[in-house]
Amino acid sequence: MTNGNVPQKAPGLWQKVLDRVKTWSRTQSPWLIHFNSGSCNGCDIEILATLTPRYDAERFGVQLHGSPRHADILICTGPVTRQARERLLRTYEQMPNPKFVVAVGACAITGGVFAGCYNVIGHIDEVIPVDVYVPGCPPRPEAIIDALVILLQKLAAGPKIEEAAS
């Protein structure tokens, strides 16, 4: 488990080596947590399909995990409903730094067909910052894998500069 603190001072050799080890280990085993904030399930079953033998995202070290405290990547589906907003925020806040968010599906990106419904307050990036968007209704598992690969490349580039999660 890493605490992912971004060093304040100019890093020494030891720190540099440590950072590289951390980055390496992160890119080898990015753990996911999945949150449905009001989706129709279409995206959710495609995310699950991504993890099962045909698509087998585990070959990238990706594993779906239960607790937000163990997860590196929050994978979100659906528009954000009034009731789910708090839970989405809480889940995001419980994740250790550095953390990444993938918004899967048209609803997560724009609200989709549910935009304007009275109990839908918006899309994912109105609530938490999003790193990768996967369009589609629902996106194919290949597209979800592609998003994860893009994210892993991002991770490999080094520690993310922390943004205020407001």
Partner: protein, 401 residues
Amino acid sequence: MTQPANRKRFTVPIGPQHPALKEPGHFAFDVDGEIVQSASVRLGYAHRGIEKATESRTWVQNLYLLERICGICSHIHATAYCLGVEKLAQVEVPPRAQAIRSLVAELERIHSHLLWLGVAAHESGFDTLFMYSWRDRETVMNILEVMTGNRVHYSANVLGGVKYDVDDQQAATIREGLDFLEERTLHYLEVVSTDSLFLQRTRNIGVMDREAAQLSGVIGPTGRASNVQRDVRLDSPYAAYADHPITPVYETTGDLLARFVVRLREQLTSIDYIRMLLDHLPNSPLTTRMPRRVKAGEAISRVEAPRGELFYYIKSNGGDMPDRIHVRTPTLCNIASVAQLVIGQHLADVPMILVGIDPCFSCNDRTSVICQDGQRDMWDWARLRQYGIDHYGTHYTKDLG
């Protein structure tokens, strides 16, 4: 029930966190020791307000909105809606379109039941079965993609017919896939009814006899596992089911095992039914003309979704938008039964009983909080499952010793 005053009672809330599938629900279980005493339900984490939204969309727009009520049974929602609106508009849909509706509906049933099998197996800790059943599910996803171009929201329906035809080449692909699925389904049927570890989690757990099932209003495969002989496809035939009746599947024991067996046997009937449909596809156009405005009136449309009876009430004022659409999903019927079913059961069995009604719940991981004299203690799904495994481990050793 009297109990000593110093006896502590705990409330174990389950959900809504990690609501991976439809209708993330919240349950609170009061437990005495490890026996559940009472339960209450809270839904609404995925409530978006679709019924209200239908009132400000046209009849055609609504088709695509209602399809997205559920990503697992999207076709059956669209079918129920189309059948209702066509009834209101007094439009006769060509027979080939009706047959294709039934065909896609049965393919959807296979995909939904395989999905459920995996989810349920995961809840019992049998991840191998989860992975295998989801691998085989890809076969039916392939078939759906070959037919419609989409894996999940197939959009096969339009008002007044269907969009996609089945040609000979596609039919051959479907048959080939079905042969494989039949073989696998028979294998799973053998696994769930003979694997001794699995049977410990399913046999005589969450038993609901016929009387209780009728009183608690359960429908669909959950009801049929308790010998409640209700199947809309048979009782009130729609689409192709009037011309080609389906063979219903009933079990009598009413426990979790029966719910597994009913769904797997239903899969086999679906496979046979699709083959039969492919042999007897009538020749006709795929669509008929549909008016933009629908005559005033109200219609009731009932169909058999993979999870049970789906009920649509549609009211038109004669305009190009509906006045009211009311959707009663099968889960709403069945979810109430969980609250009664779990009483007197071990906490460790709760996840299995929950998933036994196929409530569109996540297979993954929920976080639960145990409140104990004001102190909060986090229980995640894995720990709850471990608790189940340990509990049954001791029981099993006791039986042996």
